[in-house]
């Protein structure tokens, strides 16, 4: 019963995450940007724009300019999350890819960094009056969700180890449609339930900042308004008086 419920939950969560994100990306892509609004100084070539976006994604360049504390906590959380996610590939691959084996030791520490970064961000949300003012309940809940995922994961690693072999065969079973029994360890169930919740809310929440960055006209536009005419379709229709 438990196995069926979680199997269904993960199929649903994956479908919502992938389908929802694809729909959002399609929406963003089809909405025109009728005016050139890059925040200048901006790159004058497409390569330059790719570099600008890469710096935003990898280094959080603008956030670094804005506030060193938010940058420190935010960047540490995201970087650690990435390592943790990559480390989790070991539960979905058989045999485990070699580079996933190599990052294993870092992945374990990254779990702590991730939670520390989140707690830093949460502390600012509670203690800095400006940030407390702009916080809605969902902003706290999102942090609670992520902290819950991180802490339950760490508990399984350091406090109450779960039957990882059985867990892995459950997920491999999901991938191959050859379902296997999920261990009924409560911490594991909390961990997996929270992860599924995160996947489900992703396309409907502020987590859309991830695809949003790539579609942000102030960041992804080339500064070449005097060299190349920029005209959206709806603006072209207004231009009946000229070619």
């Amino acid at each position: 019963m438990l196995t069926v419920a979680f199997a269904a939950l993960f199929y649903l969560a994956t479908a919502v995450l992938v389908g929802g994100l694809a729909y959002r990306i399609w929406e963003y892509a089809k909405t025109p940007a009728p005016l050139k609004i890059p925040t200048t100084p901006a790159p004058t070539t497409h390569t330059g724009v790719a570099m600008r976006l890469a710096r935003e994604v990898v280094l959080f360049e603008s956030l670094f300019k804005a506030n060193k504390w938010i940058w420190l906590f935010g960047w540490a959380f995201h970087a650690a999350l990435l390592v943790v996610l990559l480390r989790h590939l070991r539960y979905f691959t058989q045999p485990v890819w070699e580079w996933v084996v190599l990052i294993q030791p870092f992945g374990v520490y990254a779990g702590f960094v991730m939670v520390a970064g989140l707690l830093g961000l949460w502390a600012r949300r509670l203690l800095v009056p400006r940030i407390r003012y702009i916080s809605a309940p969902s902003d706290h809940l999102m942090l609670a969700l992520l902290v819950g995922i991180g802490v339950s994961g760490l508990l399984m690693k350091y406090v109450a180890r779960t039957d990882i072999v059985a867990t892995k065969s459950f997920f491999l079973g999901l991938l191959t449609f050859n379902w296997q029994k999920l261990p009924s360890d409560p911490i594991l169930l909390v961990h997996l339930g929270l992860v599924a919740a995160l996947m489900l809310v992703f396309p409907f929440s502020k987590l859309l900042h991830a695809p949003g960055l790539f579609f942000s006209p102030t960041r992804n536009q080339v500064d070449n308004s005097r060299e190349r005419r920029h005209l959206s379709n709806w603006a072209r229709e207004m231009q009946t008086d000229r070619s």
Binding site: E27, Y28, T31, P32, A33, P34, L35, K36, I37, T39, T40, P41, A42, P43, T44, E56, F60, S62, L63, K65, A66, N67, I70, G74, L121, R124, R125, V128, P129, R130, I131, Y133, I134, S135, A136, P137, S138, D139, L141, F204, S205, K206, L208, H209, G212, L213, F215, S216, P217, T218, R219, D223, S225, R226, R229, H230, L231, W234, A235, M238
Partner: protein, 511 residues
């Protein structure tokens, strides 16, 4: 002004320009511009008064904007409330009103957007801070979307590049569409569309002013520098903000442009049809109005048969020209393609300097110890020259070529981090003087620092709004109102004129 002090001796008496104030909720809620009169609204194609079903109409408009502007949709979806922008707005720094924090200003619109266009906002509004569009919310929109000068400082620091200017433009567009427009901006747009300039200057008055200027410059320099109006076949059409024809220190800049054109030996003209560089259609987020105004410039250039368009010193006007003119009124295939379309007067002057065609007597500006205020819309919404950042380097190169004593203000208050003058984005109106004064505070404090450290006496600006705003607020911060100068005023003071360099309109063709 202040005497030169060693920076180390400066006891900490001067406040930090970027000091973060304590929150003072609601302290600027009462700051609102006058509402546009019905006939003013109708002239621009908006309802005269607040329409009966304004809530529904506003939501419909929001849906329309969501389909037309990617910025609107992406910016409303992407904010994570990280707080990076919260201390970046000069109006927040000057007032402490939390609704002047960029994210909170956006949230005024985002909370309604979430209520109507997101799943969570529809079913769990309390969870995500979604709200219905009530009268109270509309009231906040009217107050706080008119406390944003659309300077884009927040967009520099946002990790997703969210630009509050886009949101305040959308907010104003929605309010216009339901009949709650702002008197100052909409009256001006009406004047441009009927008379051709923001000030409603008639051609006769303009002609008299230009003739006076010719006489004045001749008397002062002995050189016949021309100020041509509506001259067919001129090489260049100058499009300057209309304030350049009557206000101080703007007019001193206009004299500078004329002297540079004289030295260039190029024929030029002002157009009475497109006497206005400013495009207030941008302030109210109206593509249609922005386009109408831009098309006047195209029309004037075609009617006069000019080959180049050069813009005068104006901040948002240059953004509208540099970034939008080709989109709104192009293609400009009838102009000389060897030059940038449009070109900025500073680019024109700088190119002549590089070509060795301008000579300056810097000592003429020795009474001035100068700093430079980067105008927000030039700094963050456009470019000068062919390299990113030219908008910072070119004006400084010009000023340093004309002036022996130049000192920049604190690095976190200039260039891409520059502070708005406090009067941009349609706020340069008397009833908003309180927010204008508060918004100028960070810039004024940065000026106080450089005055104290280096004995700076003057601040050059290259925007009609900056110049008008500073003339008004400088005295409120202990400076002389004439401490703000035009960039081309410094050029005008120092340029060495060569009699007879100027060509007449049409002369180029006969060469």
């Amino acid at each position: 002004m202040a005497e030169v002090k060693d920076p180390d001796d400066r006891e900490n008496e001067l406040p930090d320009p970027l000091a973060i104030p304590d929150l003072a909720p609601g302290c600027m809620a009462m700051s609102k511009p006058y509402v546009a009169a019905p006939e003013m609204q109708k002239r621009l194609g908006f309802p005269g008064e607040l329409v009966e079903n304004w809530q529904d109409r506003a939501i419909e408009k929001m849906a329309e904007l969501r389909g037309k502007y990617r910025s609107f949709r992406v910016f409303l979806d992407s904010c994570v409330k990280c707080g990076a922008c919260t201390d970046k707005c000069h109006y927040f720094l000057g007032t402490g009103d939390p609704k002047n924090m960029p994210v909170a200003r956006q949230d005024l619109l985002r909370q309604v957007y979430r209520r109507h266009f997101t799943l969570a906002g529809k079913y769990l509004p309390w969870l995500v801070g979604a709200r219905d569009l009530t009268e109270q919310v509309l009231d906040d929109w009217y107050s706080y979307f008119h406390q944003c000068s659309q300077c884009r400082r927040c967009s520099v620091y946002c990790p997703y590049g969210i630009d509050t200017a886009e949101i305040s433009m959308a907010g104003r567009e929605i309010m216009d569409s339901i009949g709650k427009g702002q008197k100052y901006s909409n009256e001006i747009i009406g004047k441009v569309r009927t008379i051709g300039n923001n000030l409603g200057l008639p051609k006769k008055a303009l002609k008299a002013t230009l003739e006076d200027l010719e006489e004045e410059v001749l008397e002062e320099t002995g050189v016949p520098v021309r100020f041509p109006l509506d001259e067919q076949g001129a090489e260049i059409m100058l499009v300057a903000p209309s304030a350049d024809y009557f206000a101080e220190p703007h007019i001193a800049g206009l004299i500078g442009y004329a002297k540079v054109f004289h030295q260039a030996g190029t024929s030029w003209t002002i157009s009475s049809h497109a006497l206005e560089a400013a495009n207030f259609g941008m302030f109210i987020g109206s593509y249609e109005n922005m386009r109408e105004i831009a098309l006047r410039i195209r029309q004037a250039a075609q009617d006069l048969g000019v080959k180049r368009i050069v813009f005068g010193e104006c901040g948002h006007a240059w953004r509208a020209a540099y970034s939008f003119l080709d989109t709104l009124a192009g293609p400009f295939d009838f102009l000389d393609q060897r030059y940038p379309i449009p070109q900025h007067i500073c680019e024109f002057t700088y190119d002549l300097m590089q070509a060795g065609k301008l000579n300056f007597d810097k000592s003429k500006n020795d009474h001035v110890r100068l700093t430079f205020h980067d105008s927000c819309n030039i700094a963050r919404g456009s470019r000068l020259g062919d390299k990113p950042g030219g908008q910072f380097d070119i004006p400084r190169a010009i000023l340093k070529a004309c002036c022996n004593h130049f000192y920049d203000m604190a690095p976190d208050t200039i260039k891409e981090s520059t502070l708005c003058c406090g009067g941009g984005g349609g706020l340069l109106t008397d009833e908003l003087i309180e927010i204008r004064k508060a918004g100028a505070q960070p810039r004024m404090r940065a000026l106080q620092q450089v005055a104290s450290d280096h004995g700076v006496t003057h601040m050059a600006a290259m925007c009609a709004i900056c110049k008008a705003q500073f003339s008004k607020v400088l005295p409120m911060y202990g400076f002389d109102r004439e401490a703000v100068v035009s960039v081309h005023q410094m050029v005008s003071n120092a340029i060495i004129l060569n009699p007879g360099a100027q060509k007449l309109a049409g002369a180029d063709a006969k060469d």
